[in-house]
């Protein structure tokens, strides 16, 4: 008998008696008010991220200018900004090791938690979202959802090879509860509220 068969046989033999139907999950009222941008901004700030409104149409990246100016290697996955590291030309995930700032666009944001979602097609190279020192995330305010429950109704989770919710930067408090950003992944996460110019995700 294979391991699989043995496990399945035991599961069948040991199935607890009784009827345990799958409960319906009601739609809970969102815990956030109508101003999703304000709620998102407040919640993300508590998780260690920050939110900036885009600058003028001529210079939307003005609020993150100083971060970009100090960066030697910028990897951009968005058409709104051209960095100096071509993600599509990357051969290996490890090639992202020297990236100072990565710029990516979120599929959507979640106001209740301050989270943003990426899939493998938004990141182009998944590792860039972790190996970069800092992450700048473009988010269209129209892409904000009220809560996590709404997020899990989106199709990305059934379609993408990889989907990830980021809620602030990499963090640890494993040493005496002292909160430190940049445990293993990015040291900072800044969301720039900027409408999509290109058509939405494919």
């Amino acid at each position: 008998m294979s391991a699989r068969e043995a496990i399945f046989a035991r599961l069948k033999a040991n199935r607890p008696a009784g009827d345990y139907p799958l409960p319906a999950v009601p739609d809970f009222a969102p815990l956030v008010g109508d101003d999703l941008v304000a709620e998102f901004t407040e919640r993300l700030a508590r998780m260690g991220g920050r939110v900036e409104r885009a600058g003028s149409p001529a210079d939307p990246f003005a609020p993150v200018r100083s971060r970009l100016a100090g960066a030697a290697v910028i990897a951009s996955a968005v058409p709104e900004y051209s960095g100096n590291r071509d993600l599509r030309a990357a051969q290996r995930p490890q090639d992202m090791a020297d990236v100072d700032v990565a710029i990516v666009r979120a599929r959507f944001g979640v106001a209740e938690t301050g989270s943003v979602l990426f899939t493998e097609s938004d990141l182009i190279v998944n590792s860039v979202a972790y190996l970069a020192q800092h992450l700048i995330v473009l988010l269209d305010p129209a892409d904000l959802l009220a809560n996590i429950q709404a997020a899990y109704k989106r199709p990305e989770f059934g379609q993408s090879a990889y989907a990830v919710l980021h809620t602030g930067p990499s963090a640890t408090a494993d040493i005496e509860g002292v909160l430190i950003h940049g445990a293993q992944g990015v040291r900072s996460l800044t969301v720039l509220l900027l409408r999509r110019t290109a058509p939405g995700p494919i």
Binding site: A3, R4, I7, F8, R10, L11, N14, R15, P16, Y20, P21, L22, P23, V25, L31, R43, A45, R46, M47, G48, R50, R92, P93, Q94, A97, E112, T113, S115, E120, N126, S127, A129, Y130, L131, I148, Q149, Y152, F157, G158, S160, A161, Y162, A163, V164, H166, T167, S170, A171, T172, A173, D174, I175, E176, G177, V178, L179, I180, A183, Q184, G185
Partner: protein, 521 residues
Amino acid sequence: MSEELNPREGVIHPEVRAPSDESERGPDGRRLQHAEAASKPIRADAPREPQPRGAKIKGNRPIDQGEAAERFLAAPLHQKAHDERLWDVRKKRDAAAHGIPEWEELREIASQIKAHTLTHLDDYLAQFEAAAKANGVHVHWAEDGAAHNRIVLDILQKHGAKSLVKSKSMLTEECGFRHFMAAHDIDIIETDLGERIQQLDEEEPSHVVMPAVHKTRLDVADVFARTLGTDPDNDDAHYLAESQRETTRPLILKADAGLTGCNFAIAETGTVVTCTNEGNADLSGNVPPLQIHSIGIEKIIPKVEHLGVFIRLLSRSALGSPITQYTSHFRAPRAGTEMHMVLVDNGRSERLGMEEFWTSLKCIRCGACMNTCPVYRRSGGLSYGATYSGPIGLIIDPTFNKRKYSTLPFSSTMNGSCTNVCPVKINIHEQIFAWRKVLAEEHQIPLLKQGMMKAAGAVLSRPAAYRAAISTADSALRALPRFAVYNPANTWGKKREMPHAPRQSFHAWYRQNRMNKDGQS
């Protein structure tokens, strides 16, 4: 919630009050306390005190948790820092739960989803397997820990892989994965900071969420000085964390393979979900050319929509934060790479057949029962001498080894607080008592404790009255109510006086001070 969280309660013991506050601040200058952060600085300061070590393991002989607990209690700086830290997390959990009006409903739904899935586990596992295979994933089945280790070794050898980075996984701890791989010359690198500290110190994790919570910064400074060559006199937490980042990063970049555990496995899509604060599961899964996920078969949930229930409960119960920094959904391999999933039984299918104990399989490993447990807080996770410690450990460790863990169900005051906080509503304290009965009947426990059993039975034979008593006493009080300490079911705490009672319980304070002002945090 923030530093104004009960300034009057004064629960921080003066000996562990930190002179300064090094935690990160938000853009508005407010102190942040997400991830595992403490809501106020807690610091075990000089004079240096050697770290109390865990239970003495003597083969198959029953663990003497009490002996290890006495040593932990005899190290006051460690004990107080540990107690304060976990109690603080427990309070943050309460505040997070109070912020959600449907909290109790969510617990009930989560518990029912788990009961349903566990009673149809063969169907859902088959569905998961089919979905994963359709996604191009290699699926493996392991009957026990040894089989899991052999399967992973086999995958590694086929790829000529000699090093593996991994994120935290209690399942791999269960399997003795690191020890096995060391014997086969495979380099294993833990990437969670707490777990890395424990690996470098050759110690098991002491908590399911915060593996090194029993260590002070001085202990960490010692370990890193010894193993990473850091300055032994520098115990700055930022310096230590950064040293770990700088030394681990090259190992991540060079690793031949990456492995993660699994918080939830979704049957309909074949997805493995991990929840971390450091992003280290994402590094392990996305950087090396070979990707492996180890999954306990009880981690299955039917659909993506059910994540909307569990994700809302997990981090709030564990740490009091609304979500972990990273919630990652691994479904299919990256182009040109292989993705393997190893589904591990290791006693779970047997446990499913234990009428009184099968619901322990609902556990989502949030650690809330540990943080609230007065015995755990005052003895440290390593005193249990088992992979799982605290209340959840008491009810699942004996399923792995009845003799070795026969004494653990007695390390409880039976105050019921664990049951009250469990996000999937496992009747933990009742199972603890049920284990005592089983072990007594099978003569796995010493006569002295069998005598205690009779007395305890008298109290617990009226479960409704007992339950009412513990819930009106608001059972997670900082200090246990006298009846809980002195009731005959308490086989642990009579001699061990409960520490510094607050003037007012947290709940009472909360109701009085915050509920009206701020209903949502």
